[in-house]
């Protein structure tokens, strides 16, 4: 896999979430995503960016334009040094929330992505990776 272009944004305030959305919107447009696919991936980014703040105490978002033979896509990596997720399987269930939200963020973002990975070490932090490929 080849990374064509990378940008890194801070994710600490609710304004930062808007900036992440705008950057993901611009970059997914540049990759050539359809309007529906752009909207899906921007929405997924918004959910995970908010989690980075609410659960991780803030962190960084890395936005990468990637290529593998035959396809192009966008990869988003959200990393924080927060308390981590004790039970990832539980966090991926619809309606499960520890922050008083709707509990749709993680499972919803997974449905809106083509690939979705969560790595978390309790006490160390969480890394969430989302990938969406341009439909061919």
């Amino acid at each position: 896999m080849h990374v064509e272009r990378t940008s890194t944004l801070e994710v600490r305030t609710s304004e930062d979430v808007v900036r992440v959305r705008q950057e993901v919107r611009n970059r997914s447009g540049a990759v050539g995503f359809s309007l529906v696919d752009q909207t899906k991936f921007v929405t997924a980014a918004s959910e995970i960016a908010r989690n980075t703040i609410d659960h991780g105490g803030g962190g960084l978002a890395r936005i990468e334009t990637i290529t593998v033979p035959g396809k192009r896509g966008l990869r988003l990596v959200f990393e924080d040094q927060g308390p981590g997720i004790a039970d990832i399987a539980l966090a991926m269930q619809d309606g499960y929330s520890t922050a008083g939200g709707l509990g749709m963020g993680m499972p919803g973002a997974k449905r809106l992505s083509n690939e979705f990975y969560v790595e978390s070490v309790p006490g160390k932090g969480t890394k969430v990776t989302l990938v969406r490929w341009k439909a061919t």
């Binding site: 304004e15 959305r21 919107r25 909207t39 921007v42 908010r50 939200g101 709707l102 973002a109 809106l112």
Partner: protein, 130 residues
């Protein structure tokens, strides 16, 4: 400080969200609207989201909260102008916006609100049953 304007039109409060709202702004709108409802004794709330290119779980929850609070204050809420790609994404995200009525555009939304104010739902059929 940035703020989303709330206009009184007839018996209705009209809100048109024209910017990409961050979460604090969405919370402020929810509070402002509830306050305005009490002050103006409006009977309906029309929220135009035709300029929004995203409704995530936070904005979805804000819309549901507004509708729920308005209902407690005997007010009808209609959300209008949702873009097709936003609707597709909402469903896949898993949000169904419970308790929210929708219409295609502002004209139809106002017509629906006026109808709901004049003939509250469940009234016509239920009366005869007593």
């Amino acid at each position: 400080m940035e703020q989303i304007p709330i206009l009184k039109v007839g018996r209705c409060l009209l809100v048109s969200i024209q910017i990409d709202m961050h979460d604090k702004l969405a919370m402020a709108l929810q509070d402002d609207l509830t306050q305005k409802l009490v002050e103006t004794r409006a009977r309906g709330v029309l929220i135009d989201i035709s300029a929004l290119d995203l409704v995530d779980s936070f904005i979805g929850r804000m819309l549901s909260n507004i509708a729920a609070m308005a209902r407690v204050l005997d007010t009808q809420t209609v959300v209008v102008g949702m873009r097709p790609q936003v609707a597709i994404t909402l469903v896949e995200l898993g949000l169904t916006l419970p308790g929210i009525r929708t219409a295609l555009d502002v004209d139809r939304g106002l017509a629906l609100i006026n109808k709901l104010i004049d003939e509250p739902e469940g009234d016509s059929g239920a009366r005869g049953a007593h």
